[in-house]
Symmetry: C2
Subunit: 139 residues, 2 copies
Amino acid sequence: MRAMISLARSYDGGSVALSDVARAEGISLGYLEQLAASLRKAGLVSSQRGSHGGYRLVSAPAKVTVGEVLRALEGPLSLVECLSETGRSGSCQHETGCPSRVLWERMRDSLAQVLDSTTLADLCHQPESQAAIAARPGH
Amino acid sequence: MRAMISLARSYDGGSVALSDVARAEGISLGYLEQLAASLRKAGLVSSQRGSHGGYRLVSAPAKVTVGEVLRALEGPLSLVECLSETGRSGSCQHETGCPSRVLWERMRDSLAQVLDSTTLADLCHQPESQAAIAARPGH
DNA sequence: TAGAATTCCTAGTATCTTACTAGGAATTGA
DNA sequence: TCAATTCCTAGTAAGATACTAGGAATTCTA
């Protein structure tokens, strides 16, 4: 999520190499590459290979919800296995008449409401990390 | 949570042995004993040792929120380590100016709102599981 | 008073997830 | 040509979760 916010902040500046994001956010490059692959397959970022290549957001930060990001990285929203957004039924024997099912549904929907209503732009307005500032070109 | 709802349904009937709950909900007795220990230490249930002993809710189901139950079992509500209800600061180097912090706060508060506003009584009104019915005295 | 039913306590374990590391291949611009 | 980048796959260390196992303490009842 920090990486996506970092990309969002650079949205007007073209592609950003993952090595820059890695340095700014204190995430290893290898790990970031794996996350980026998921984000690319989900159509949230586009990539440019080779020298001076990098990643960039496909849509404007205000158009990208954190729900989309989270789903791209971790699959359908789910707090318990038997009750994900896409419904993995059959994974729990207690499903029929499970008394706590209603609770998990409420929790899932409450979370989804937050995730689908906050965008990357919302989070960009927060103060930038010291590491990110120090890692910017010119520092 | 299913065990607590089971106890809530027996609230007027005195103590219930964990072996009954275990049978009704398909949870192993040994595991249930460990959960019960946490619930007892949190003051949510009281226990009676010996023959014809068992557990019972201390307060009426309508007075017990699932938030209390969850906190008793799993500690302070927390989706990410650096931002639990009691605040375990220092666990994350990115804390200062972390751009995603606001997001996790919103999610945590949204969940807490659900958890602290639904009671065991709310969940008791749901249909009872087949196993629980079959395990009731008289079946 | 014996014995059965229960809670209480501690230690160990199997499985899964998360957050990585490692190493190399393919691509592209200078 | 070469350096910088993305792309791909496999392996791994640590921790959490959901248990199992075994036994000690307590209490009611026959």
